[in-house]
């Protein structure tokens, strides 16, 4: 099982009509839907619970938003507010409560 996804260098296959626009976007720095599926199934109480393909894609988007637009961006904003260029764990700690409440 490939733990790390290959760094995407936007090798667009013919016309890209087969892959959905969202899958392409996900490859450009995002979560693979297989990883998302395994992540979720790791925590399901019932072994029979599955996630359908579209929901996997959507969850990948959600996680991407969680990391990129919320966790990372908020921490960066916090560091910026403190006039710092380096984002450190304390910045993450400061934004964590609101982050979890909002999700």
């Amino acid at each position: 099982m490939a733990a790390a996804q290959p760094r995407p260098q936007a090798t667009r296959a013919s016309g890209g009509g087969a892959a959905s626009a969202m899958e392409r976007e996900a490859r450009a720095g995002g979560f693979r839907k297989e990883t998302v599926d395994r992540l979720l199934r790791l925590h399901f109480r019932d072994g029979r619970t599955r996630v359908n393909g579209d929901a996997q894609l959507l969850m990948a988007e959600m996680l991407k938003v969680f990391v990129r637009a919320e966790a990372a961006a908020r921490a960066a904003r916090q560091a910026h507010a403190e006039d710092l260029e380096k984002v450190d764990v304390e910045h993450v700690e400061k934004v964590l409560p609101q982050l979890l409440l909002d999700f």
Binding site: G29, F44, T49, R50, A55, E61, A71, V89, V92, L99
Partner: protein
């Protein structure tokens, strides 16, 4: 992907079966732990990529500990998400999580909900487009006689409608 495959017990007797079950659980536990580690590593990689993007955009730097911290938080949040999704699906008497369940998950923040709804509509659209393509190519394959023209015009009309 199953955590532990139940093996038919060659030995008879309740006690040996129980012992085997206990041993299997322990093995399953370790397997599960390793799986979690591998998944966390995958998450770590993606979190690193995403932070790199944000770093470029905002002209900042993320320390390694920060990336590790965000990875940990994301990983834990997945547990919450998974449990919620499972509960939502079960509430709807389903065993498969669908887009509707994911949308429910996003309910707390209106901007997030809007974003997720948009994405789900994009998905639905691209799914429809793929179905259309399949229909067209099937229609072309099946009708190789003069009816071919009629089939193509039909699907074109559908698109225009």
């Amino acid at each position: 992907m199953a955590a532990a495959q139940p093996r038919p017990s060659a030995l008879g007797g309740k006690r040996s079966r129980a012992a085997e079950a206990g041993a299997m659980e322990a093995a399953g536990g370790e397997e599960r732990f390793l799986l979690a580690q591998r998944l966390k590593a995958a998450v770590h990689y993606t979190v690193g990529c995403l932070c790199e993007e944000v770093a470029e955009e905002r002209d900042v730097q993320f320390s390694k500990q920060t990336i590790a911290a965000i990875t940990e938080i994301t990983f834990r949040q997945c547990e919450t998400f998974a449990k919620d999704l499972e509960v939502f699906a079960r509430h709807a008497k389903r065993s498969t999580v669908t887009i509707e369940d994911v949308k429910l998950l996003a309910r707390r923040s209106s901007s997030l909900l809007r974003y997720i709804t948009e994405k789900s509509e994009e998905l639905a659209l691209s799914n429809m487009e793929q179905k259309e393509k399949k229909k067209k190519s099937n229609a072309v394959k099946e009708r190789r006689t003069g009816e071919h023209e009629a089939a193509v015009t039909e699907s074109e009309d559908f698109n225009m409608a």
